[in-house]
Symmetry: C2
Subunit: 191 residues, 2 copies
Amino acid sequence: MKLLEDRIRAEGEVLPGGVLKVGKFLNQQMDPKLFYAMAEEWKRLYEGVEVNKILTIEASGIGIAAIVGLVFGCPVVFAKKSKTSNVTGGVWQTIVESFTHGVTNTVIVGREFLQPGDKVLIVDDFLANGAALEGMIDLVRQAGAEVAGAAIAIEKAFQPGGEQIRKTGVRVESLARVAAMDPETGVEFVK
Amino acid sequence: MKLLEDRIRAEGEVLPGGVLKVGKFLNQQMDPKLFYAMAEEWKRLYEGVEVNKILTIEASGIGIAAIVGLVFGCPVVFAKKSKTSNVTGGVWQTIVESFTHGVTNTVIVGREFLQPGDKVLIVDDFLANGAALEGMIDLVRQAGAEVAGAAIAIEKAFQPGGEQIRKTGVRVESLARVAAMDPETGVEFVK
């Protein structure tokens, strides 16, 4: 998606250690108009695919997912990174290793929010090694629901997550696929 | 706002210990259409007030804030609960005690995202003892920015936070103000 690629070129920053910082428009600071355009693009890509629920993971996926839910006209569920006192009843849970934060989290969703028969579009800001997406796929399947597909803003296509998950038959639509990146030369996208 | 009050009556659940669970439409599962209607109501309430930035705090405020940003046509910044490796440079920071989670968090925003001259609308899902809102007001003022007001979904008006903050001159617009709640008899709103 040219709009997102242009924005990454203009405002993204490549840090040493393989970190692509997009905090000016996608994470710490979010541009809701950009998110709306991204959501419309996913709506176009997933035309004809049944989706009745959006799933994301806290925290940085939530803003994108809320606007995707608005455009798709369905509720948005987010997986939480630890058990808190206002989650009651049973939960689906899985383990996700966070590349960014260097920690392993237990990730949970209340069972009432993912049900058999749900057609779930999984939304996230980044796909790199695939751990978060695999965790969310696991949650959907534990619930007996179906993965309609994944809607990813930025895929680090030089890391194996995206291809591994596509090989399992899950459709993954990433709006910007980074082929290579470097603090000196910037970001190069998959053509 | 009747739409939100009706939803709380229909789908909210009062748990022992003063917890109002609204996970079916406001937290773990979010209803983006409801959020859009709420955002339009805040837009109406704050008509004529200059707002160029939305500030919220992770995680459950982010979905609402993203859609408020869409309706107000401005970027959305969220305060994070701990320092992570992808926040570089200076940050504004404050301490917030979480009622729900029973913990004290250091809350940070990158300095680049709050600047002198910003007119900030602070968005959150709940206002009870006011700790999160006070923390966000503190972040805005550290940055030399102005608080345009606060946009709160649900205020527990029987707790002191809202009145304390209004007394300091900050405008607080809560769309549902809970006067009393009880696991047996449910929720009663301020008339």
